[in-house]
């Protein structure tokens, strides 16, 4: 085995690292997913904390996809640029990694595929070993073995893991995979790196390891979701598929509908009949649902919608990430009506907010939108096992009597919600302006009565709003603001920056704008909003709600999430500019 990297790495004494970052690049079909799974599972079993995220092209075969894995002695939940171990399974993968390689990165390749060496590489003849093992398809298992060896997984644990994983495929396949792992370990042990992963503190944390899509689906399950419908659309399909799988074990109807308009209207029918329905879609599909959302507003139907964002406009970058649909979520639908918008920043929030969404929707009879994005749904890490909230009054419905009126006018605007077939009353809902019984009206007074009733709910909702999370020293003068998936990245970035004067304000609840947040924002000397879109949609929302002008926006809209380093740098730059500006005498009239 040639190890062209040995000279570089072997010379220094291996440094102990609490956190190692690994990047795998390959074409669709090459099995980088499989390497990732083996690695993460074994690291997790050994007691490490793990994190993985992927980015992929909008194609089924070919192209270039990548996965970033972090294995750490402490919890880890954000994308780092830094790569300690990089494995491009094909030369075309190298450019995709370029910006992330440092001189300390161990670049592991099959040298036969990389005739021109532009930098130090650790050459492991994956293809050659694979053909010895039994065929090209074993290359990924071999690569997994290599990395397992490097990070110190026990060989026997790895062998039994792959044995389990391939058990269904027959003994021969199991044997060959075990051999592949072994050969990978052999090769991996030969590598002499400048760093070594520290041992995990204890065996296993009792955490669960799951992706954003899992957290949302579990939250829906815990929220009592019993009807899910959708139309396939990346990156929202995962939630539909997971709940479809749950429908085999729980009371859930899972239906793929002909189009997104059908999706939302079907879900409203389901709520009307007493179900707790979830719809899941992405920006383009949600754009088709705007009229239906307005219907939810008018008939005061609860609704929970999962909107997994991707870069637009139009088809955009279908498999990438962006936080570009906030404006649409805020204002979708014609006419004025209350709604709630949530945006989980952590897996835990993904679970708790989704569960809560069902209760909020049901209690206030309004649509609740859960904004995630491709990065969020496709990212997984281990996290404290979720604690579902109690499921007290799971359905906020009443048994009707003969005098029942669906839209009885009440103080807080919420009318007791009956459903057809439960009680002696009839339940009439109408998309036209209507009276308390649900029949069409046209006169001015009746209109105002109902419009006011609907809007009064917004006030009640305001009180239920979740305050933004403040992380940092009290009265820090700089405030970095995030919403949704950018949170964990910003948290690690600020921790890395380590500035006492700079705190983080994360919004998991976006609308109605949480009362009190304005005060926190105004309290800061400088507000920097970091979000994954082109114009700073949340920054604009803050201005609209608080009349606070936001000039510092850190925006990214290339279809990729921020990395910790990138965001840390950008925040540092913003602060520097600001400080420099402050040192200059103020301009007249500024």
């Amino acid at each position: 085995m040639k190890n062209s990297g040995r000279a570089d790495y072997g010379a220094r004494k291996a440094m102990l690292r609490p956190d190692i970052s690994i990047a795998l690049v390959g074409e669709a079909g090459q099995g980088i997913q499989s390497i990732e799974t083996i690695l993460v599972s074994l690291a997790r079993a050994k007691g490490y904390h793990v994190y993985a995220t992927k980015e992929y092209m909008s194609r089924v075969r070919g192209g270039i996809n990548s996965t970033s894995v972090r294995i750490s002695t402490s919890p880890v939940d954000a994308l780092a640029d830094r790569v300690d171990i990089a494995i491009p399974l094909l030369p075309a993968g190298l450019p995709y990694l370029k910006k992330r390689l440092t001189k300390n990165t161990a670049l592991i390749v099959d040298g036969s595929l990389f005739p021109q060496k532009t930098r130090a590489m650790i050459d492991i003849p994956l293809a050659a070993i694979a053909s010895e093992v039994g065929g090209a398809i074993y290359a990924n298992t071999i690569a997994a073995g290599v990395v397992c060896a490097i990070i110190g997984v026990d060989e026997s644990a790895a062998e039994s893991f792959v044995a389990d994983r391939f058990a269904q495929k027959g003994e021969a396949v199991v044997a060959r995979n075990k051999l592949a792992i072994k050969r990978g370990f052999d090769a991996g042990r030969e590598i002499d790196l400048s760093f070594r992963l520290a041992r995990p503190s204890k065996k296993k944390s009792g955490n669960i390891t799951l992706a954003g899509a899992d957290a949302v689906a579990l939250g829906a399950l815990a929220g009592g979701c019993d009807y899910v419908c959708g139309y396939p659309m990346s990156p929202s399909t995962g939630v539909l598929e997971r709940l479809a799988a749950y429908s085999q074990r729980h009371d859930i109807i899972a239906e793929q509908v002909e189009d997104e308009i059908g999706v939302i209207n079907m879900a409203l029918g389901a709520w009307y009949a007493g179900a707790r329905a979830l719809i899941t879609t992405s920006g383009g599909g949600f754009a088709l649902m705007c009229e239906g959302l307005s219907l939810a507003g008018m008939i005061e139907s609860p609704l929970v919608a999962h909107l997994a964002q991707r870069p637009g406009p139009a088809t955009g970058l279908p498999t990438r990430t962006e936080q570009g649909d906030l404006n649409l979520a805020l204002y979708a639908g014609h006419g004025d009506f209350p709604r709630i918008i949530l945006a989980p920043g952590t897996l835990e929030e993904g679970f708790t907010l989704t569960q809560r969404a069902f209760d909020l929707a049901d209690r206030y009879q309004v649509p609740v939108l859960i904004l995630t994005d491709q990065y969020f749904v496709d990212t997984y890490y281990d996290t404290k096992r979720f604690k579902p909230a109690a499921m007290g009054d799971r359905r906020s419905i009443v048994e009707t009597d003969a005098s029942y009126k669906r839209y009885s006018v009440t103080r807080n605007g919420v009318s007791p919600r009956g459903i057809p077939g439960f009680g002696k009353g009839i339940v009439c809902v109408d998309s036209d302006e209507h009276d308390e019984s649900g029949y069409i009206v046209e006169d001015a007074e009746a209109r105002v009565l109902m419009a006011d009733k609907r809007m009064r709910k917004a006030r009640a909702i305001n009180k239920a709003a979740i305050k933004p999370t403040y992380i940092g020293g009290k009265d820090a003068e700089n405030l970095v603001v995030t919403w949704g998936s950018t949170f964990t990245i910003a948290r690690e970035a600020l921790a890395a920056l380590g500035r006492r004067d700079t705190a983080l304000l994360h919004f998991p609840w976006l609308h109605p704008f949480p009362i009190g947040a304005a005060k926190t924002l105004r309290g800061a000397k400088r507000v920097i909003v970091a979000e994954n879109n082109m114009t700073g949609q949340f920054a604009d929302l803050i201005t609209r709600e608080t009349s606070l002008p936001i000039s510092s926006r850190i925006l990214k809209y290339d279809g990729r999430p921020f990395s910790v380093e990138e965001l840390a740098d950008a925040v540092a730059r913003e602060l520097d500019t600001h400080e420099a500006a402050q040192r200059r005498p103020p301009k007249r009239g500024a």
Binding site: H250, G274, A277, G292, L295, G421, C428
Partner: protein, 302 residues
Amino acid sequence: MKPRNADPRSEVHDIMAKNQFDFDQPIDIAWCPGCGDHAIRKALLAALDELKLSREKVVLVSGIGQAAKMPQYINASFFNGLHGRGLPPATAIKACNPELTVIAVGGDGDMLGEGGNHLIHCARRNPDITLFIHENMIYGLTKGQAAPTSRPGLITPVQVEGVFENPLNPVALAISLDVTFVARVLGNDVERTKEIMKRAISHKGFSIVDIFQPCVSFNKTNTFQWFKDNTFELPSGYDPSDRAKAFAMAIKEEPFPLGVIYETATRKPFEGNLRIYRNSKAPLYRRERTMSEIEGELSAFD
């Protein structure tokens, strides 16, 4: 019952003696005097009553249009949604609670224009619901533009040169989709309409009744007389179970056949295919999720 914010000018309709689906006081019906919709309402009231359905278990679902106002004038639960979007909620309502009798009503614009895609796919699902399409060959509520069913040559303020698109034949379309009960009636024939409505509602699976309905205000061509002159009853001995033959019958136009043109019992209804009803018939709203179900799924991620 409820004082129906009655417009003082409301056309007061006879209250059908003892029909629980009618109101016990006059209501304001927004349809024009002479509109074919009145007869269809009479037929529907009678059909519901004669089927002895329990009022609390009937849900009418509609979109927007003159026909789609029907639920407003029947004393039962309703979901009066968006133009063109009646069928998706109707499907869900039945799926969530199969104890309910679900009837969708819509105009030819509502169901075949804006809502065409849902119709096609509702046919594929075959929920046990009934759809009445009021075919007046015009957009009534929006004051007289062409409907998908409008006959060639009809001049309207939008179709200034006359309609030239092929009119949609909902019966032929339904048969091509293997809708399990397909009929056509002339709504003014209240008795016959009622009978066929009863059969349609009783049929297990998706049933469509295409109801010819004169719009006296905006369609001066396809009048009651025109419908009478341009329809014929199916020949006696006609067998509605042969799909190819039914299609051959369905594409006859001017005159159009009336009656049950296609009926099949070969397909299972949507609800019957849902796993949740395999072991229990309880509607969704009566089921509870337990904490242990959730904990169980969480454990999969340990």
